[in-house]
Symmetry: C3
């Protein structure tokens, strides 16, 4: 268990991530540290949870995910480590870990009480709590030793709501916008298939009160450069995109924007 | 062959680069992964090609360059691996690899057909194709095994045009602007020397229809803070710079801006 | 001695940092390279020095800090390596290394003359001088071998001024603003304690000619979301912050902004 994957909202302009790595290597010089991203929007626990859930499966078994999106640092919120079927997840008990952890299958949960730095600040638990515990586990330390076992029922969970299907429509929303401007929705391909919509055809998409007829394609390049499309993205969500363009700018989309999809045979108003 | 160097236009705000690293480490836990940069402008194949060519020689022999600037992902464009005299280059067959690969000397080229992830999406070949094949080769896998050998003549090449010299002028253009605002041109020092211009003297530089008399210096600090200069940069191109300033802002330069250089003894119009 | 920690103002949008890593791994394939940050504001030697001093202690003993904030590259400024009680610091002799090095205790200082790349440019000593020397030392090379020993008195030092205490006030200034908008001052908790101000109570803070009564708390979450606070931060400085907000935007703070703190029992004018 030597791989530690970091996910934070620290950004990389400050030395905070570097300091966490220094702490890890001080405890386990052989740790392999991988950055998932440090650009989670500040304090956005749900966004961090979604990113973690979307990508954890691509990491080696026994990877120790160390997640610090922690607006409650220094408060009474617990610091926890979750052992799942294949991984360990470490972070604040604010829900950021749970969509991924439940998806992989939780075995047990521990509240972190030991193997922190000797002096624990109330402002930087990434450095003082989460990094050293991750390092301890990465060199073979037992998760049982880091503190007390707590009940799975006691940990904070986050609702990652799915899209709703009724009256022949799928009503979803934008949950993530990537740096290409692709707008990832909470709509699953099966939501569309349940309405008889199939990949390869046109769908009716309503965004900001405007109706679009958009092809549901398999590759961005299935439409011409600059044209709108929807696609099942690489994390198995429906995504609005513009081939070699920026769908979120084109459609003025934001996190939370409502997306209504229905079959194209239905006439718009 | 354990070093994998990554160059993409993914940025680092999304988890995409982290996921590629997770995939690589899942296949070869001992791989050493180095980021060249992930800030190539989206879809700018030529820019990626220029960056790769400028820096590949500074990496250890047998480094596996994994380059994902891939506007055609999911289309019929091939995924290829090129073996050169000292390195392996992996990426889409859109020309991004070729300036570096030809510079190092191509031995043979293979189309990637095997050692991808079991399920290959049409949207994220960095994760599903290029990362796993790089990992396979990094742990000693044979490039011959990844697919079929293809002819060097069949791969897509990119024109990296040099500057033109005629009528006693060098006519070049800006090909890269770095984060210091230094404007790198496609002019080589020899272009200037062919006109009798020598390092150490003043040259006449025309930019945006304005003529400047600028010293060709050896170090940024050879002029006062805030003053214009030209210099043979660390990748052996002529670069416009301002000592401790930002030449591209000062001169309103962009990628593609024309730069005309002539000896200073010539009078301007 | 295998860990090399990098701190530069290069940013990560260009391939410069990647090239330094390529050079290091060419010389020592087993080097472990850690990024502190590459987002020091361009040419800001003092900022780099402050960051280095704040974080070096969290890295393993024998870490080789390689610091390139180097507006004088190519000039007569020396390139130096400093051996301290626990670490090695490599960089330009412009003061960027000294606050950290003096803090750890300087043993001896060497001017770099050997173990550079064969050809040394005048524009990129990160690649040609500092990276190769760091790599040389990281694989067990002797610091004595890299060049001539120079006197500690001869190296450039930087003044990191502390806050002033007089007339019952602490007069400090903002020395760093992090990506959360937290404004770090040069005021130490002891400065406040010398005036009888204790953690837990209200203090009077004057910023931009406006007086605020702000609680001195132990955790950001000790005040409501959006409220101002001061706190002893994780590097033991007094910091102005807004819980889950951005203090520097709220108070229009910049590097150098004056901060005057006095006990709250004193009436403002």
């Amino acid at each position: 268990m030597g791989i530690i994957a970091l996910l934070t909202d620290f950004g990389i302009d400050d030395p905070y991530v570097g300091v966490m790595k220094g702490v890890i290597l001080s405890i386990n010089p052989n740790a392999v540290i991988v950055d998932i991203t440090h650009s989670v929007d500040k304090y956005q626990v749900l966004q961090g949870a979604l990113i973690l859930r979307s990508c954890y499966k691509y990491f080696p078994r026994e990877t120790i995910f160390t997640v610090v999106i922690d607006p409650g640092v220094g408060s009474m919120r617990r610091a926890i480590a979750i052992r799942t079927s294949n991984y360990v997840f470490i972070g604040p008990d604010n829900g950021v870990l749970t969509p991924a952890a439940f998806d992989d299958g939780i075995i047990d949960v521990y509240e972190i009480r030991k193997y922190t730095l000797p002096a624990v600040s109330k402002t930087f638990h990434g450095r003082d709590v989460f990094a050293p515990v991750a390092a301890y586990i990465s060199k073979g330390g037992l998760i049982e030793d880091i503190g007390g076992r707590v009940s799975v029922d006691s940990i904070t969970t986050i609702e990652v709501s799915g899209a709703e299907v009724h009256n022949g429509e799928v009503i979803g929303k934008v949950i993530y916008i990537d740096s290409f401007g692709n707008a990832v929705t909470n709509i699953h391909p099966n939501n569309l298939k349940s309405l008889g919509i199939d990949e390869g055809g046109l769908v009716n998409v309503e965004v900001n009160r405007v109706q679009y007829r958009i092809p549901w394609v398999k590759a961005y390049s299935d439409v011409k450069q600059g044209e709108l499309l929807i696609i099942t993205n690489s994390f198995n969500y429906i995504e609005l995109s513009v081939n070699q363009g920026n769908a979120s700018k084109t459609l003025k989309l934001e996190i939370g924007s409502e997306i209504v999809v229905k079959p194209c045979r239905q006439q718009s108003l």
